[in-house]
């Protein structure tokens, strides 16, 4: 596919054929070659064919081949005349990341990391189909779907500060449990407060490097500080909702005989009954995911206090922020110099709102939104801040992680005969995991270098570097 370089960090796929807008990929001269060979570029172009798309079909530097939309894709559709696509959100609706800070220094806990790893592993239900100790009736699941993080806080799993520092205050108000199938509800009864498997994790890390001392101070960060990061989503409930609506919308696509470059891109007009219904169900899954991460954080905090024998005041764990990276949202952006309501799909991309944006909590009004970018388990994670340039160029969006370069099969082959956990231990990273193949599939070489990805979004100005974290203890499903 022809890619035209526009500047150091941006490549364009010209508008051809059925495309309504061009494609734009943020990358670097060292990464773009492998991107251009992948199916992912074709996927960027396919998304550009959907009705009502505005400006461009975008991809962040962690772009890789997905199904339907590329992973790392951002696409915005006119709220009145555009579409919403479940495949543009993904199966794991509101898969996302949260980061909590503490007042502990790495020197305070270095000798206790093995104990912390054991206790956090036992205290965090993880692995395939993991179920938690919270069993809910379907009636109670519906309350979680309506209230999100607030449900968790009301049931003793958090406080007001946590809610204020969660994207959308941990609740999308368009949620309507009546739009959710019995199958999805059933799957929601068993899995609240569970991590899941694959690339999901709970991680203790430390602040290794600070790039912007002023912003870092406002985020409450200091060198050597112990942090906790959680990456998880809406579990089986979210997968089921996506699958239910894809089944329905592909049937609809066939009946109405509209052109689709890929069945996985089946869509509904946002203003149609089906579109509204999907938005209501998607919001339910988003709320479930926020409650899920909130509960896991609260429980892990209790585990840390118990293991170290310290009080809440000594630990002082506070949520820095919680972001979603698989979502579609109603947002107002400037399109051709006019304020326009859009439906912004972020499929493996994170919101990057600038200083002064009204949806940010007071304490982040001068810094811009905190953005959390997890790397692979052997390297680093980054804390970034949102920018005006992101609003101007990417509908307030940036990357979400490292992005895979090796298939799971290739990673397993590459890890044969190696003990990944020992290699990580030599780097001072303690790992606990459940699944037999998880560690091999998630090995560091399976991912792009997170630093390369973050350097692109920083260089392009769609977010800016604040601090870098180094993993110490990683709990994997």
């Amino acid at each position: 596919m022809d890619l035209i370089q526009k500047n150091d960090y941006l490549w364009e796929i010209p508008k051809t054929g059925h495309m309504n807008v061009p494609g734009r990929i943020y990358s670097s001269s060292s990464m773009i070659d492998s991107v251009s060979k992948e199916e992912a570029c074709k996927q960027v172009a396919n998304v550009a064919e959907l009705p009502g798309i505005v400006s461009a079909s975008l991809a962040m530097p962690d772009i890789h081949w997905g199904y339907g939309f590329p992973i790392g894709g951002v696409a915005a559709f006119d709220w009145k005349e555009g579409v919403i696509s479940p495949g543009g959100v993904g199966y794991d609706i509101n898969c996302g990341v949260r980061l909590a800070t503490s007042s502990l220094h790495v020197d305070d806990v270095q000798s206790r990391l093995e104990d912390l790893a054991d206790d956090l592993y036992h205290g965090t239900p993880s692995g395939v189909g993991s179920t938690g100790s919270i069993k809910l009736s379907k009636k109670e699941v519906k309350k979680v779907l309506e209230q999100g993080s607030q449900w968790a806080a009301s049931n003793g799993f958090g406080e007001e500060l946590d809610i204020r520092r969660t994207e959308d205050h941990g609740c999308m108000d368009s949620a309507d449990p009546e739009a959710v199938s019995e199958r999805a509800l059933e799957r929601g009864t068993q899995q609240l407060g569970t991590l899941g498997s694959g690339n999901h994790f709970l991680e203790l890390g430390m602040v290794e490097e600070i790039f912007d001392p002023d912003t870092a101070a406002k985020f409450g960060l200091f060198p050597g500080q112990i942090t906790m990061m959680i990456h998880s989503g809406s579990r089986g409930l979210g997968y089921q909702i996506c699958d239910d609506f894809l089944a329905d919308l592909t049937r609809h696509a066939r009946k109405s005989a509209y052109y689709l470059p890929d069945r996985q891109l089946a869509y509904a007009m946002i203003q149609s009954v089906q579109g509204r219904r999907y938005l209501s169900a998607m919001a339910c899954a988003a709320n479930y995911a926020w409650a899920n991460r909130q509960i896991m954080m609260h429980r892990a905090e209790a585990v840390i206090m118990r293991t170290l024998g310290i009080s809440p005041n000594t630990l002082s764990m506070q949520l820095l922020y919680d972001v979603c990276h698989n979502i579609a949202k109603k947002e107002e952006h400037m399109v051709e110099n006019r304020k326009t309501w859009l439906c912004v799909h972020r499929k493996g991309a994170t919101r990057s709102f600038p200083p002064g944006h009204p949806s940010l909590p007071e304490e982040y009004r001068t810094t811009g939104q905190p953005i959390l970018i997890p790397g692979d388990m052997g390297t680093a994670s980054y804390i970034l801040a949102g920018t005006e340039k992101a609003m101007a160029e990417t509908f307030g969006s940036t990357c979400h992680g490292a992005g895979r370069v090796l298939s799971r099969n290739a990673a397993k082959k590459a890890s044969r005969g190696r003990a990944i956990q020992n290699e990580l231990a030599e780097k001072g990273i303690i790992v606990r995991w459940t699944g037999r193949s998880t560690l091999a599939e998630e090995m560091p070489e399976a991912y792009k270098d997170i630093t390369d990805v973050v350097d692109v979004v920083h260089g392009a100005g769609i977010s800016r570097k604040v601090a870098k974290l180094r993993p110490l203890v990683v709990i994997k499903g």
């Binding site: 081949w65 199904y67 339907g68 395939v128 189909g129 089921q240 089944a247 890929d262 290739a410």
Partner: protein, 141 residues
């Protein structure tokens, strides 16, 4: 490698690509279901003590495969059943009748190898080739 004849993993960066084979249309549906079960657990230790019939419809052959695999996956994800074997009794372009055998999941006996979130429509294809039939599909894991 008996499994090699039934299906193979194809390369996909983020997820599992599957190509299932069969001499007949019935067989390619059975082997596609086998691939799902084989990725979820060790089929050889399953006893298949329980059985039930399944009936699935679809708008076309691809859609039928999608709905069939959806049901197989839901038996595990939604109901906690591990499928040992499927036997397709009747299949057309738009409907399928099969019998399946399964075990109830037991944490002490069964190891779960992979979490499969869903079957995707991306590059889904069920077709004939010179050896019979093949089915391509991608699993979100």
């Amino acid at each position: 490698m008996v499994n090699a004849l039934k299906y193979r993993l194809t390369d996909h960066t983020a997820d599992f690509g599957i190509q299932a084979f069969g001499k007949t249309m019935e067989q390619v549906f059975e082997n596609a279901a086998f691939a799902i079960s084989d990725l979820i657990t060790d089929i050889h230790i399953l006893q298949g003590v329980h059985s039930q019939p399944i009936f699935v419809t679809g708008d076309d052959r691809d859609d039928l495969m999608m709905n069939w695999l959806r049901e197989i996956l839901y038996l595990w994800n939604g109901m906690g059943l591990l499928v040992k074997q499927t036997s397709v009794k009747e299949v057309t372009e738009s409907h399928l009748k099969a019998d399946i055998t399964y075990d109830f999941y037991d944490t002490d006996r069964h190891e779960i190898k992979n979490e499969i979130k869903a079957i995707t429509y991306h590059q889904l294809e069920v077709n004939r080739n010179q050896d019979g039939w093949f089915a391509n599909f991608i699993l979100d894991v």
